[in-house]
Symmetry: C2
Subunit: 498 residues, 2 copies
C-alpha cells in the first residue's frame, strides 16, 4: 500500500464513521423528538445554500451540507408521523438498503447481479406462496403505481394479443373497473397505456368503502351491451383512505364467469396475508390473475419495495407449461422481453431478470425485504401486524370515548377515519403540522373531509396514540375559539356593510 | 432515558458500527481485488441459506447473513469491471444514497419531502440549463427506460390530445423513429403505450453508428405518403454499443420542419454536456423537446439517477405561460396530474412534485447527484470526463498497436469496440469472466460480435487498462490453442466419417 492508498483508506474510514454517527443521531432524533414543523420553502432557501458549486468542496464541507439537509428533512419515522401509509423503519431493512447503494448492482442479468437474482426469486416465490398461486412469478416495480402498471399491461396484452405490436386501435373498446375508492394510479395508467381514462369505470362502494359486486356486475353488463370489451377488474385490498377490502372472492367468481382479468391492488393490504386471521380479508386472492403488494407500507422497509405477482397457467400433467400456441408460460417474459444482444449474453436465461421487468437497469428492491425477513421471521411479521392493528383499535376506542369525535367506519386495517365536531378536518391537520405536534392527513369519506390516522409504525406506544388525540383535541379547541372569533369578525363586517 | 432505551441505543450504535466496518471492507476489496468470478447458481444455493425463516434471527445472525450476500455480490466498482455503462462510485453520492434509505422520504408532496423538493428542483433546473432549455422542467424516473417512457407519453399526448382520455384508437397511425443503434426501451415502451412496436422505425445508421438524416427523412416521407402520422424522433446521444452520437442539430432541423417531437435519449451521453468541448457532440440539443439523462452511468452515482427534461413553451412578453387554450404550460403536470385529495393537501401546489411524475410514492434520486456535485463541482465533472475519455483513448492506442486486435470505429465517447483475430468475442468475454480476470461484454457492431470496453470508472489507471489487454490477449491465445485443438478434433471426426 503506497502513501496515497493509505490516505485514501484513512479518508474512507473517517467518512464511514461520520456517516454512522449521523445515522445514529438521526435514529435517536426520530425516536425521541416530535415532528419537525416543515419550514417554508422561503425559509429553507434563506437558511441553506442548495446551489451546485463550480468548484469542488472538501469532504468536511460537503458532509456538513449533507448533514444540514438531513437535519431539516421531515421525519417519516418519528412517533408522531401518521401521515402516510408508511412510517417507521426496520433496522435490518435500512442497513440492507444502505448496502444496496454501496453494491450498486443492476438486476437485469445474472452476470451483473449474481446472488441478488436468487434473493429476488426467493422473495417473489414466497410472496406468490402467500397469495396462494400454484404457479406464478413476479418482479419488483418502482412503487405501487408501477406495479399496477405492469399488471394492466399484461392483462391488456393477454386480452388483445395484437396490441403490443400494432398499437391501441387493436384494443379499442377495452374497459377497466375499479371501485370509487381505488387508487388514482389505475386511471393514470389507463391514460398512459392507451386504454383511455374515460374507459375506467368507478364502481360504487358501500358505506365501509368496499366495492359493491352487484354494481360491478351491472357496469360490466352495460359495457357489453354497448359493444365494449371488459378488460380487467381491479379489486382493492386496503383502500387508500379507509383501508377497506373489496370482497375479492365474490369479485373473482364474477371475473371467472365473465372471463375478465382480476388484478388485486393490495399495495397497502397485501401484508395482511402474513397473518393467519387477518388474511381472511383477502379471501379469494388466489383466484386473481395478478397482485400488487408494497412491502414499504405496512412492512416498514425503505421505499420503494413493490412486488407485482402474476399467476401463470399451471403446468399440465405432461410437464409442459407452454400454452397451446407454444407461447412462453411466463407471462411477464412474454410481454416484457426484448432482444438486446449487448446485454443478455450468458446461458442463465432463466436468471436474466431483465427479460421480465418493466425497467432495464434496476436496483435490488428485494434485498431489504429479504433482510427484514431474516430479522423478523414469519412470526415477527405476524406480531408486527397484531401490534399495528392493536394501535388502530386503541385509536377507535379513544374516538368512541370522546363526544367531540365521530368515527366514520369500522376500520378494517390501519386507517382510522373520523371527524371533529365544529372543526374542518383539513384545517385541523394543517394546524397540527404547523405547530410541529403530529403529522396526519385527511381524506374524503363519503364526500366529506375526515382526519385519517394510519397506525403503520408498530414502535408507537399506546400512550403516544393517546397523546395524538390530546394534541388533536387541544388544537381543535383553539381552532373553534379562533373560528368563533373569525365568525364574529365576519358578522361585524357584515353588520358594517348593512 | 430508561434502561430499555439505553439498550436500544447501544444496539443501534453497534449496528451502525458493523455496517460502517462492512462498507469499509467492501470499498477496500473493490479497489484492490480482481473481479470475483460469479459463482454458479447451484454453487450459491449450496453455500448460502437464502431461505426466509419462520422465526426471528438475532442481530448478529442476520447481519452475518447480509455480510455473506455482500461478499458474494459481483463487484461493479472493481477496477476490472468494464461490463456496463456504469462503474465505480463517488463517495459523496454513495453516502447520500445511504442517507436517503434512512430518511425514507417520499417526493410526492412538499409536506412529506420538504427540503428534498427544493434539491430536486435545483438539480433539474441545472440540467435544463446545461441542455440549453430557456424554459423547461423535469422529474426523476426510475431508470433510463422509464425516462424515455415519460418522454414518449408527453410527445404522444401533445400530438394526439384525445388519446389520454379516449385510448389508443385516437392515436392510430402514430409512428416513432429511432436509429438501428438506439436503445431497446423505445420499442418496448411503444408496445406498452399502445403505439405499437411495429410502428417504431429503425432508421439506418452510418459506419460509426450515427443515424443517417437522409434515411430518417425518407422514412418520414414514406409514412406520410402511407397516411401515417410521424409522432416522435428519438435521437441517441451515446448509443449503447458504440457510444455514438446522432447528428442532433440536423435532425432538429428536420423535426422542426416536419413538426415532429424530438426526444434525445442521452441516457449515456448526456453527461458530455458538462464539458465545454465534449458537449459539441450534442450540438443542437437545446432544440429538442425532451432529453433523458442518466447520472448513474458516466457520473458514478448509485443507480438509478435518471432525469427526464422537457422543454416548455417560452412565456410570451405578456408574462403568461399558458397556451392559447389555457392549458398548463408545465407539460409534465399537464399529462401526469391526477386528482387525489387525500394526498395533495397543502398550498405548495407548485412544490407538490407528485403532480408531475410517473410514480406516486417516489424516493429522492436527486439527492445523491446533488451530493456528488457538492464534492466535485462543475470542475470535478469536467476533469472526470477528461479522465474517462483519456482512458478510452489509451485503449484505442493499445488496440492500434496490437496486430491481433482490430478497432471497429473511432470511439466518440467511452465505448471502445474491437475484435480479436481468430477468437469469437462472446467466448472471449465469457472466459475472462469465468477466470475472474476482467468483466467485459460484447455487442453487435455492423452485425458482428465485438468486445465492448467501457471506461466509465475514472479511478482506473492507465496501467490497469494495459493489464486488461494483457489479460485479454493471453486468454485469446489460450482459446485459439484450444480452438485449434477443437478444430483438429472436429477435423479428425470428419476424417473418421469420410
Amino acid at each position: 500500500m503506497d502513501e496515497r492508498d493509505e490516505d485514501r483508506t484513512g479518508a474512507a474510514d473517517d467518512l464511514f464513521q461520520r456517516t454512522a454517527d449521523l445515522a445514529r443521531w438521526l435514529v435517536e432524533r426520530d425516536r425521541l423528538s416530535p415532528v419537525t414543523p416543515p419550514p417554508s420553502p422561503e425559509q429553507l432557501r434563506a437558511e441553506l445554500d442548495l446551489s451546485l458549486p463550480a468548484e469542488p468542496r472538501q469532504e468536511g464541507e460537503w458532509f456538513d451540507a449533507l448533514r444540514e439537509v438531513v437535519e431539516r428533512t421531515p421525519s417519516t419515522s418519528s412517533h408522531r408521523f401518521y401521515n402516510q401509509l408508511f412510517a417507521g423503519r426496520i433496522p435490518a431493512a435500512t442497513v440492507a438498503e444502505a448496502l444496496t447503494a454501496l453494491l450498486n448492482s443492476s438486476m437485469y442479468t445474472y452476470k451483473a447481479a449474481g446472488v441478488h437474482t436468487l434473493i429476488e426469486r426467493r422473495v417473489i416465490a414466497r410472496l406468490c406462496e402467500l397469495v396462494g398461486y400454484r404457479s406464478g412469478g413476479g418482479t419488483f416495480a418502482p412503487g405501487g403505481s408501477m406495479a399496477n402498471l405492469v399488471a394492466l399491461i399484461v392483462a391488456r396484452n393477454e386480452a388483445f394479443p395484437r396490441v403490443r405490436d400494432e398499437g391501441g386501435a387493436a384494443a379499442a373498446g377495452a374497459v377497466v373497473y375499479v371501485s370509487d375508492q381505488g387508487h388514482y394510479s389505475i386511471r393514470k395508467n389507463a391514460g398512459m397505456l392507451g386504454i383511455g381514462r374515460a374507459n375506467v369505470r368507478a364502481v360504487r362502494s358501500d358505506h365501509e368503502g368496499r366495492m359493491i359486486p352487484s354494481a360491478l356486475s351491472e357496469a360490466i353488463a352495460a359495457d357489453r351491451e354497448a359493444g365494449r370489451t371488459p378488460l380487467c377488474v381491479v379489486a382493492t385490498a386496503g383502500t387508500t383512505v379507509m383501508g377497506a377490502f373489496d370482497p375479492i372472492d365474490e369479485i373473482a367468481t364474477l371475473c371467472e364467469r365473465e372471463r375478465i382479468w382480476l388484478h388485486v391492488d393490495a399495495a397497502f393490504g397485501g401484508s395482511f396475508l402474513l397473518h393467519p386471521e387477518l388474511r381472511q380479508r383477502l379471501r379469494g386472492v388466489e383466484r386473481s390473475n395478478s397482485v400488487a403488494w408494497c412491502a414499504h407500507k405496512m412492512m416498514g422497509v425503505p421505499m420503494p419495495c413493490s412486488a407485482i405477482l402474476v399467476r401463470y397457467a399451471e403446468r399440465s400433467s405432461s410437464g409442459s407449461g407452454a400454452s397451446p400456441g407454444g407461447e412462453d408460460p411466463n407471462l411477464l417474459r412474454r410481454h416484457f422481453n426484448e432482444a438486446a444482444d449487448y446485454l443478455f449474453q450468458q446461458d442463465e436465461a432463466d436468471l436474466n431478470l431483465g427479460h421480465e421487468s418493466l425497467q432495464c437497469g434496476r436496483r435490488n428492491d428485494a434485498f431489504k425485504l429479504w433482510a427484514a425477513w431474516q430479522a423478523l421471521g414469519d412470526r415477527g411479521w405476524r406480531e408486527r401486524l397484531e401490534r399495528q392493528r392493536h394501535l388502530a383499535l386503541t385509536a377507535v376506542a379513544r374516538i368512541e370515548r370522546e363526544p367531540a369525535l365521530e368515527l366514520l367506519h369500522r376500520p378494517e386495517s390501519l386507517c382510522v377515519c373520523f371527524t371533529v365536531s365544529g372543526v374542518a378536518s383539513d384545517e385541523l391537520c394543517a394546524e397540527l403540522s404547523r405547530r410541529g405536534l403530529e403529522s396526519v392527513g385527511y381524506g374524503l369519506v363519503r364526500g366529506a373531509k375526515a382526519v385519517r390516522l394510519v397506525t403503520s409504525n408498530p414502535e408507537v406506544t399506546e400512550g403516544e396514540i393517546e397523546r395524538f388525540f390530546d394534541d388533536l383535541l387541544a388544537v381543535a379547541d383553539d381552532l373553534r375559539r379562533r373560528g368563533g372569533a373569525a365568525a364574529a369578525t365576519t358578522e361585524s363586517v357584515a353588520a358594517t356593510r348593512e
